[in-house]
């Protein structure tokens, strides 16, 4: 439990460096430290599937971000940040903290999930009948591919649409004809 907190503190420090670093490349690499630190934390939290997915997705995100920023001279954009934005973000942060503190007591305390608190939850059903009804020993895969397979179909649709939009945006000839737009 202390180990998980140490990893979370590490990700917070890496996120602060990623936000404040002056050069684009170093801040993107710090963002990678956030993702990989979280992936190790997921391993300690008993979620190996998510740790594997997180590593793959993090590598792809870093490749996309570095490819987008390289050679564009995105070093530092500084200057007078507006006071109103700072005050507004402070107010937003205060509101968020108030809501979080208000609803924190409604959660089961750390280390107890809904399975321990309630007697009949969907998770218990999945754990009990995962092997029998879906035929897989890994319950997360049973949920993804059998009990909630339509969710996965929707996920594939969303991913396809997003990538289609990105390709359409990046390919100039589709919208602006031969030679592209100046």
């Amino acid at each position: 439990m202390v180990l998980i907190q140490i990893f979370l503190v590490f990700t917070i420090i890496a996120a602060l460096i990623a936000v404040e670093a002056p050069s684009a490349l170093s801040s993107i690499i710090s963002l990678g430290a956030v993702g990989f630190g979280l992936s190790i934390a997921f391993l300690w939290l008993g979620a190996p599937d998510i740790a594997i997915t997180q590593v793959v997705v993090e590598i792809l995100t870093l490749v996309i971000l570095i490819r987008a920023t390289i050679g564009k001279g995105v070093t530092e954009i500084r200057g007078n940040e507006s006071k109103t934005l700072l005050i507004g973000s402070l107010i937003l942060f205060g509101l968020g903290s108030a809501f979080f503190a208000n609803y924190l007591s409604a959660f089961p305390e750390f280390g107890k999930s809904a399975i321990d608190v309630f007697s009949e939850t969907p998770s218990q059903f999945y754990l009990k009948f995962g092997l029998e009804k879906a035929g897989g020993a890994n319950v997360v895969n049973d949920i993804l591919l059998d009990f909630r397979a339509y969710d996965t179909l929707g996920e594939a649709t969303v991913l396809f649409t997003a990538i289609l939009g990105a390709i359409t945006l990046l390919n100039k000839d589709v919208f602006f004809g031969e030679g592209g737009e100046k």
Partner: protein, 116 residues
Amino acid sequence: MLTYLLAFILFAVGLYSVINKRNLIKIIMGIIIMEHAVNAFLILIGYRISGKAPILEKGTSVTEFVNSAMDPLPQALVITSIVISLGVVALMVALAVRLYQHYGTFDITEIRKLRG
């Protein structure tokens, strides 16, 4: 409770970056940090002390498994969320690159000035 609070602080760092930064790439990075924070929070909710990964091993009975495994439902949903966040990031970066080709800068105040 402290562990939930750490995930909340990670979310706040991302929110700060989205609101206060003028660089489009920094704003995208703030959104990515917020996604990480929400995923970590959902996994923390499903954590059980001295629990195991929800994979049924040979020789363990089902009742023992239900009493010792982590909550599998948040994990299944977070996998979906992680993969979708990749598509969202790709779309956002494509928009930022198109804006850079058009205006020659990532600074959002400059982009706002040149509208029209």
